[in-house]
């Protein structure tokens, strides 16, 4: 490569291989781990970092709900029914027609909704990635069977299935709602992963890994999955947002988390029933839903950029 340049630039130690090499590759010879790179790129993505901070705060609020909430989520104060936001008694988000403090209900709602959403996201990603990877890697009959199964689930009218399932499995428990949602949400990830695997399968490094004696499992887990991390992570974050919304829809229809437990969607539904005059009942839980969904998506975006080792340009 540029032997002359390297010796011209540093005649003193042009004999050192390190110097020649730094010029040869055009980058500084500095060892960093993959995670160091991911962290570095992620931290440069300011919006993602800000979103992550907000998300962590919201998450902490959910985790420490019992300690943080000024009142219990089902604690009624019949003296102040239908109170708008006020500093008096710290009813910052107002109260509902049962005299329950809405700030406390939103805080407990965050706890329930985030728990369900994260559970759904992780479980559906696990199912979807496994199905997609097997279908894409093996192709042929395996692909046919798994993808027809995926199609079948996609063609089912989701809401009808959810309602039926929640009737038979019993609704109201966050765990059961989460299981039902995960069983419907994995299809998108399965299709994405399958598509990625179909193209990755033809890549030469997969053939090279096979030529090096790697087993199918090793090729899938170690060589192909890391190449899909970005899309998988982005999709998982989308599922977190979508799960919050669907869970809200279920609760709205009366098949989700049952009262008096608070879930963000349920709070919006309850508030909506009260009409426009009680605007605070819809606005605050609604804002929190939007905030969580937005932050989750921004974080996903930042992670996608961070995980791509060929990504040079980093958006601010």
């Amino acid at each position: 490569m540029s032997e002359s340049r390297s010796s011209a630039a540093s005649p003193a130690d042009s004999g050192s291989p390190d110097v020649a090499l730094a010029y040869e590759s055009g980058v500084e010879v500095k060892a960093r781990s993959q995670w160091a790179y991911v962290r570095m790129r992620f931290l440069r993505h300011r919006l993602a970092v800000a979103s992550l901070i907000v998300l962590v705060l919201i998450g902490l609020v959910g985790v420490f709900a019992p300690q943080l909430a000024p009142y219990g989520y089902d604690e009624q104060n019949l003296d102040i029914l239908i109170q708008g936001p006020t500093l008096e008694g710290w009813h910052l988000f107002g109260t509902d027609h049962l005299g329950r403090d809405y700030l406390s209900r939103v805080i407990f709602g965050i706890r329930t909704s985030l728990w369900v959403a994260i559970f759904v996201a992780l479980l559906s990603t696990a199912i979807g990635t496994t199905v997609g990877a097997l279908a894409g890697y093996y192709g042929g009959h395996v692909d046919n069977v798994l993808m027809r199964l995926t199609d079948l689930i996609l063609t089912l009218p989701g809401l009808a299935v959810l309602l039926t399932a929640s009737v038979y499995l019993g609704s109201g428990e966050p765990l059961k709602i989460g299981l039902i949602l995960a069983c419907l949400f994995w299809t998108a990830i399965a299709r994405i992963v399958r598509g990625l695997f179909l193209s990755l399968r033809e890549r030469e490094f997969v053939e090279a890994a096979r030529a090096a004696g790697a087993s199918d499992l090793r090729i899938i887990v170690r060589h192909m999955l890391p190449n899909c991390l970005g899309p998988i992570i982005v999709n998982t974050t989308l599922v977190v947002a979508a799960a919050i919304l669907v869970e809200a829809a279920l609760s709205f229809l009366g098949f989700g988390i049952q009262p008096p437990s608070a879930a963000l969607g349920k709070l919006v539904a309850d508030g909506q029933a009260e009409g426009f005059e009680l605007w605070w009942l819809v606005t605050f839980p609604g804002l929190v839903i939007v905030l969580i969904a937005l932050c989750v998506n921004f974080v996903g975006d930042g992670l996608r950029d961070a995980f791509d080792p060929t990504q040079r340009r980093v958006r601010a």
Binding site: A31, A209, A214
Partner: protein, 354 residues
């Protein structure tokens, strides 16, 4: 290309037991246009420690023959119709996948053409070399594996190997990547090393370095190398013996000197004539007329006859497929031409090379 000094003497009189013996290998691919017979009745021996060059045009079956021996062609559409490939007393073509996997990357390793696409972009160089070791030595400790991987990087001439270990393929130059590929291939002391166009994706100055690395790798492992290439210069530089392939068949086998000095197949002679040379003042290079034949419907008889100057429309060329036959004299020189004797030393196309 001056003939370089070789660590292993070019094939002499005594014939040792071959490490890999391919016999009558025929491979077909089903395509929409018909059945492509990529490899037909190919057979050759690989002797311990030698470098066997496999030469031919693109699509003549050089790579497919080795890939099918390693069980790396996609099946379907690929199909191994017949043949055997005996390696250490076992026919590789009949081994179950699990046994074959232990041979691939272990006693039989492969170097691919394009080091950028053959390295996983999301794993560090070190991870990938360590993995090559790990696959065949599952028990070894991480520290030992890492030490060996760094050692291998040094061996193939990668400076500051410790730092390279933690870098990703895109952070390395093409030559460095190919060195890393070679390091992976020799990680488990192979007895057979298949190098599929190892220098084609590299620029000329790097090619020379990689040739040196290959020689060093051979000195280290004493592996027999199958060098698949269309670069006759590379063959002259490295190979002990040469297999010339055309349209899926072996048309000539011989040691590198007899092939270059007195080719006994008109195709080989044509290849040598079409080579740009420093030691001859030629205005125009002489190409081989015509196109390589379709492997779906190859010409009857000798597949080369439509392009052959020697054939002169003789009936035998058009009707009979020529056998690969020994030419008496020079050790093991065989040609698949009905009229090989007519290519006499007097009509030699090339002089003074190799």
């Amino acid at each position: 290309m001056a003939s370089a000094t070789h660590s292993i003497p070019r094939s002499a009189g005594s014939v040792p037991e071959p490490v890999l013996s391919i016999r009558d290998l025929t491979v077909e691919f089903d395509t929409e246009d018909g059945v492509v017979r990529a490899v037909t009745g190919v057979g050759y021996d690989l002797h311990p420690g030698e470098v066997l060059g496999v030469v031919g045009e693109s699509g003549c079956g050089k790579s497919v023959s080795m890939l099918s021996v390693l069980g790396l062609i996609p099946m379907p559409p690929g199909r191994i119709v017949s043949g055997e490939a005996v390696f250490r007393g076992e026919d590789l073509l009949k081994l179950p996948e699990s046994r074959l996997r232990r041979i691939r990357g272990g006693p039989m390793a492969m170097i691919f053409q394009d080091p950028l696409t053959s390295l996983n972009p999301v794993l560090t160089i070190g991870d990938q070399i360590s993995e090559a070791i790990d696959v065949h030595h599952p028990g070894s400790s991480d520290a030992a594996t890492r030490k060996r991987a760094v050692e291998l990087l040094r061996l193939v001439g990668v400076p500051s190997a410790e730092q390279r270990y933690t870098q990703y393929p895109h952070e390395l130059s093409g030559g460095m990547r190919q060195r890393a590929m070679i390091a992976m291939a020799i990680a488990n002391d192979p007895t057979v090393l298949v190098a599929d166009e190892p220098t084609t994706a590299l620029d000329v100055t790097i090619q020379a370095q990689i040739i040196e690395v290959l020689k060093a790798a051979q000195r280290e492992t004493h592996a027999a190398i199958v060098l698949i290439t269309h670069d006759l210069g590379l063959i002259a530089e490295l190979a002990d013996r040469v297999v010339v392939m055309y349209a899926g068949r072996v048309v000539e086998i011989g040691d590198v000197f007899s092939i270059f000095d007195s080719p006994r197949h008109p195709y080989t002679a044509g290849l040598l004539r079409s080579l740009a040379r420093l030691d001859a003042d030629v205005d125009r290079l002489e190409p081989i007329a015509g196109q390589p034949p379709s492997l779906i419907a190859p010409p009857p008889g000798c597949a080369f006859h439509p392009r052959c100057a020697l054939s002169q429309s003789r009936a035998a060329c058009r009707t009979d497929v020529p056998e690969l036959r020994a030419l008496g004299s020079e050790g093991g020189h065989r040609s698949a031409c009905h009229f090989a004797e007519e290519l006499t030393a007097a009509a030699q196309p090339v002089r003074g090379s190799s």
